[in-house]
């Protein structure tokens, strides 16, 4: 490989600075979009520069591959529904990890004859292993979120043993890569990595999957960083490390928002006993009502809090909900949206979904700020949410969501659930609040129900 000329190294430095500015910008709503564009600029710059100095062969084939990848990536990103955003991010993350593993395998095959330094070989092994873990793990998270497979934890007897053996195998193969590098060792290491990725994500319950996406994102970052060391490329090292470090930190923030530790999320199901609720509809009696009854509750309230959940987005009912809220506000009723940090399928997901429906930013109130207000609230309208208001998080030790901070909807005067059926939420736990005497249920598709509520409120 030819040495990198100074001007190219400077260009790489500029790209690395762009990535830092991108992350910095993404941390604040006002600068986020510009930040993302700066990051994209840095990435394009770095990729153009490499063609100018490196004296590459197969340029046409590479360009065709880039065009193909761009088409797939851009079309996927443009077409996806906002509700399916989490699984798309998981998929993009997975292919990035896969690409890093392939790069390291090629580099291993290429440099075996030249006796690379032990540290370089160790970084190569790391890239192959963790890249494969990230690839396979992300595909399983994709399958879980897309509901191609059950979103409940999958645990089989002996899983911890298989997991332990796989880790041992991965360590042995990594050591072998350093002591006596051979391409076949790298390939086997990649296969073990794929197995580890699957085993890592299978036992994770649906509600925790977003945290795992974030963790795998950090993994891919570190993989890219190690790949940068192997290739002797500083921009890969810096970019990968930035993502690895910020991703790890972000994962911790997200886990803290759910009152969980990352270890507990990953391995909680292996300890067993956390599968409360059968995941089927309960036949205990509940109080259901007609839209007209609920409209009266809402129309004569002073203060209403909306708790939106993923079901709202699935029904594409955000716009109808906003119209209802506008109508209530016009009647002089104080209405706020209570946003749980993990409402939706990813932290912050609900904010994106409501922003799409042009709900003003000021009406979205974060959990810590609104929880004290439920006591003075006449009606809480829960639309397509379940786990985030489930009191089991406070009262039932051993429930999968125990310890997760929830919205104190149970403290309000009246609670109204808009639900499609009595099926439990994503976490698969029955919600005691549904059977509370203060609770009224309005069954039906969220969009349909909200439309009926809207016309009923208008008719008051």
């Amino acid at each position: 490989m030819s040495a990198t000329p100074v001007w190219a190294q400077v260009a790489y430095l500029v790209a690395a600075v762009c990535f830092i500015l991108a992350l910095k910008g993404l941390s604040s709503p006002r600068t986020a979009r510009a930040g993302n564009l700066v990051g994209a600029f840095g990435a394009v710059l770095a990729c153009v520069v490499v063609f100018l100095y490196a004296g590459l062969d197969h340029v046409v084939a590479i360009l065709v591959a880039i065009v193909l990848g761009t088409a797939v990536g851009a079309v996927g990103a443009r077409r996806v529904q906002m509700t399916q955003m989490p699984q798309l991010v998981a998929l993009f993350n997975g292919v990035g990890g896969g690409a890093a593993a392939l790069v390291a395998l090629l580099e291993l095959g290429d440099t075996i004859g030249t006796r690379p330094a032990a540290f370089t070989l160790a970084a190569t092994a790391f890239t192959i292993l963790v890249g494969s873990v990230s690839f396979a793990g992300s595909l399983v998270t994709f399958a879980k979120l897309q509901e191609l497979m059950t979103s409940r934890p999958v645990v089989f007897p002996g899983l911890p043993v298989v997991f332990g053996l796989s880790i041992a195998a991965a360590l042995v193969l990594s050591v072998l890569t350093v002591t006596g590098p051979a391409l076949w060792i790298g390939v086997v290491l990649a296969l073990v990595g794929l197995l580890l990725g699957v085993l890592l994500v299978l036992p994770v319950g649906g509600a925790d999957v977003p945290i795992v996406i974030s963790l795998l994102n950090a993994f891919t970052g570190l993989t890219v960083a190690a790949g940068g060391y192997v290739l002797g490329n500083a921009v890969l090292l810096v970019a990968g490390t930035l993502v690895g470090a910020s991703g790890t930190f972000l994962t911790k923030l997200m886990a803290a928002a759910m009152g969980r530790s990352v270890v507990n999320i990953l391995f909680g199901a292996l300890k067993g006993g956390s599968t409360l609720g059968a995941g089927v509809a309960s036949d205990r009696p509940v109080r259901s009502a007609h839209p007209e009854d609920v409209a009266i509750l809402l129309g004569y309230a002073h203060k209403v809090i909306i708790v939106p959940g993923y079901g709202l987005a699935v029904a594409q009912a955000q716009h109808t909900l906003r119209e209802l809220v506008d109508e209530l506000t016009e009647r002089g009723i104080a209405v706020d949206y209570a946003i749980h940090p993990v409402a939706g399928r990813m932290p912050g997901h609900m904010n994106v979904l409501l922003a799409e429906a042009q709900v003003p930013y000021e009406q979205l109130v974060e959990m810590d700020d609104i929880n004290s207000q439920f006591k003075q609230t006449d009606v809480v309208l829960v639309v397509g949410a379940n786990d985030v208001v489930n009191p089991a998080a406070k009262t039932t030790p051993g429930a999968p969501i125990y310890g997760m901070p929830i919205l104190n909807a149970d403290e309000a005067q009246q609670i109204v659930f808009l639900k499609r059926s009595m099926r439990p939420g994503f976490a698969g736990i029955e919600n005691e609040l549904l059977f509370d005497p203060k609770t009224t249920l309005l069954f039906g598709d969220a969009k349909d129900s909200l439309g009926k509520l809207l016309s009923a409120v208008k008719g008051l």
Partner: protein, 101 residues
Amino acid sequence: MSEPVVWLTIFVLSVFVGVEVISKVSSTLHTPLMSGANAIHGIILLGAILVTGYATTTAQLVVGLVAVVLATVNMVGGFVVTDRMLQMFTRKRPAPEKVKQ
């Protein structure tokens, strides 16, 4: 400094920068931030281009091209989807925004 130590220095400093720049992010932006960071590690495309450009056998070329496609999907898709998300935050923003923290 010997060369591995130079790389180690870059690595350690990058860790601190990575944590520092996002330490004050509001939970509202967790999703776009994750997605944006995801796009940034698509820079592995650069590595994929390099190894593919030096490929000497057909097998290497094929594997390298697969890596290029995958990395491009990661990078381009990641930036586009993040932009789409953020577009929704900035569109039709009324009056001075209320930013937490």
